[in-house]
């Protein structure tokens, strides 16, 4: 096995193809036997029996975007941590565990500082308006 053996990725490709086949196949088979009488009423979106008003594609709240941004940063952090964590045991066995522990601690604690900052500033709160009004009220009371 001196050459790069990519056969290990075979199941991944096969499974992706199979997933498509299972999903597409069941829909195709169903297409042969299921009824198909679309009416205008059937094809409207459900809005509790009323006729839908406007489109659902509205401008969304920015908090979803904040969550996604924070998620990406932690995602990158964890992908950097994975290789270091994978060698930690080996480093520990040859007596270098202390140095690696220190570097991991530094790395994580710097990010924890960021998390604490976001927490204190209220960026992790879901209901922001409430928080803001509380601050305002406190400011007015002074």
């Amino acid at each position: 096995m001196s050459t790069l053996n990519l056969d290990v990725y075979m199941p991944v490709v096969i499974l992706i193809v199979l997933a498509t086949l299972v999903a597409g196949g069941s829909l195709l088979v169903g297409g042969l036997i299921r009824p198909h009488n679309p009416t205008k009423l059937k094809e409207t979106a459900y809005e509790c029996g009323e006729e839908p008003i406007g489109t659902a594609w509205a401008n969304f709240n920015v908090r979803f975007y904040v969550i996604a941004l924070i998620f990406i940063i932690f995602d990158v952090e964890s992908s950097l941590m994975f290789p270091v964590a994978a060698v930690f045991k080996r480093f520990n066995e040859i007596g270098l565990g202390g140095t690696l522990l220190m570097s991991v601690l530094t790395f994580v604690l710097v990010l924890v500082a960021g998390l604490v900052y976001c927490w204190k500033k209220g960026d992790l709160d879901w209901v922001k308006s409430f928080h803001a009004t509380k601050v305002n009220i406190a400011a007015k009371e002074k």
């Binding site: 199941p11 169903g30 299921r34 998620f71 994975f82 202390g98 998390l115």
Partner: protein
């Protein structure tokens, strides 16, 4: 390093004779071809088995909920109603397929496919037994995390494309919930990687043993907490109650799949039930010793030694025992997932985000650092072996 189900089968002599015979008759090296056939058959077996498990999952869900609420549950189709899922499947296929006129057709059709692909692709690294792992990639668990995140895209697109307000809210909630809870889950996985010293499923399970005290869950107090952090995050990632906000029927009708009917809805449901199995399997592999059987019965060495069996036969028996061990633990967790669903009330969306970012993520980071310090301070020994050693030295002194 990469071991696959093919490398397990190539231990037997028959396969190598088939390969050499085919290579002669075809005129080129047939190893890849035979590997492809073996993989294709194994993938079919896994997909078939998992689709059945997913179907039986819906049956188990209804039966267990009936038990918890002192009802009968499905009991008409087949003995104890066990064929109910087949009847449901036939019904799904026969249902009319409706695509809303205002929907984004391309995305509407694509969304269930994305969910299915994301879930099925994770099956490639699920360790059913030491031999029956489709492919034990070097980056196993990391690959699984990446593939599973496709489901989030599928859920979001399902919600977006319907152009219905309920679906849109459900899709946005679903996507943000799935990505948020990925963080504590991933950090907890890192702490286990730290204990095991590798990312492949083989390494992660290889560091554990068959007996409970050898599992990573009981390795140290941090890993013990980590198990619960992972389990809660996994529940949220798969949109299971009490975190089923994306499909909360009391507020969002049916959430991101409100507009989906028939088999398109069925694909979402099937993907969800299989994903629950996969995350239970991962929890088993990471924390509960995976496929390990007590007394190293899984390798078959003892059987050869004591009973004088043929080596390959003993190995196969060992594999069956390992499969039994893995499925027992996974189904036990699956039962807990269903049990939790019918016990706890649903969270509010702000509580959900608070739980993730203000409780689980800090706890997961604390566990990660705790595991690192434990590894360094006690040289990687588990709490059981520490107690055992202390006890034996104390006993030795007296």
């Amino acid at each position: 390093m990469n071991s696959t189900i093919f490398s397990y089968f190539s231990q037997s002599k028959e396969l190598s004779t088939i390969i050499s015979g085919l290579s002669k008759s075809l005129g080129f090296d047939a190893t890849s071809l035979v590997a492809f056939i073996v993989f294709a058959i194994a993938c079919l077996v896994v997909v078939g088995a998992l689709a059945t498990i997913g179907g039986l999952g819906t049956y188990a869900e209804r039966k267990i909920s009936a038990d918890l609420q002192a009802r009968q549950g499905p009991n008409r189709v087949g003995p104890y109603g066990i064929l109910q899922f087949l009847a449901d499947g036939v019904k799904m296929i026969l249902k009319e397929d409706i695509i809303p006129a205002n929907a984004d057709r391309f995305t509407f059709i694509l969304a269930p496919f994305l969910c299915m692909i994301g879930v099925f692709a994770t099956l490639a690294v699920v360790p059913f037994s030491s031999g029956f792992t489709l492919t034990d990639l070097n980056v196993g668990i990391f690959y699984l995390v990446g593939m599973a995140s496709l489901v989030g895209v599928g859920v979001f697109l399902g919600g977006y494309s319907s152009n219905s307000k309920w679906s849109m809210l459900g899709g946005m909630r679903g996507a943000s919930q799935i990505i948020s809870y990925e963080i504590p889950a991933t950090i907890t996985i890192i702490s286990i990687v730290l204990l095991a010293g590798g990312l492949s499923m083989g390494t992660l399970i290889g560091g554990q043993g068959g007996m409970p005290q050898e599992w990573y869950m009981f390795h140290n107090p941090f890993a013990f907490i980590g198990f619960f952090v992972y389990f809660i995050s996994a529940l949220a990632e798969t949109n299971r109650a009490p975190f089923d906000l994306p499909e909360a029927e009391s507020e969002l009708v049916s959430g991101y799949h409100t507009e989906y009917s028939g088999m398109r809805f069925g694909l979402f449901a099937l993907a969800e039930y299989i994903e629950v199995f996969v995350v239970c399997g991962v929890a088993t592999a990471l924390f509960l010793g995976g496929y390990k059987v007590p007394f190293e019965l899984g390798t078959g060495a003892i059987l050869v030694e004591k009973l004088g069996l043929d080596i390959m036969l003993a190995k196969n028996i060992g594999q069956v025992l390992e499969l039994g061990s893995f499925f027992t633990k996974t189904f036990a967790l699956y039962y807990v997932v269903i049990w939790v669903r019918w016990t706890l009330p649903r969270l509010r969306v702000d509580q959900l985000m608070t739980l993730c970012w203000k409780y689980l993520t800090p706890i997961a980071i604390f566990n990660l650092l705790g595991c690192a310090v434990w590894m360094y301070a006690f040289n990687g020994k588990s709490i059981y072996s520490l107690i055992f050693e202390t006890a034996s030295t104390v006993a030795g002194h007296h």
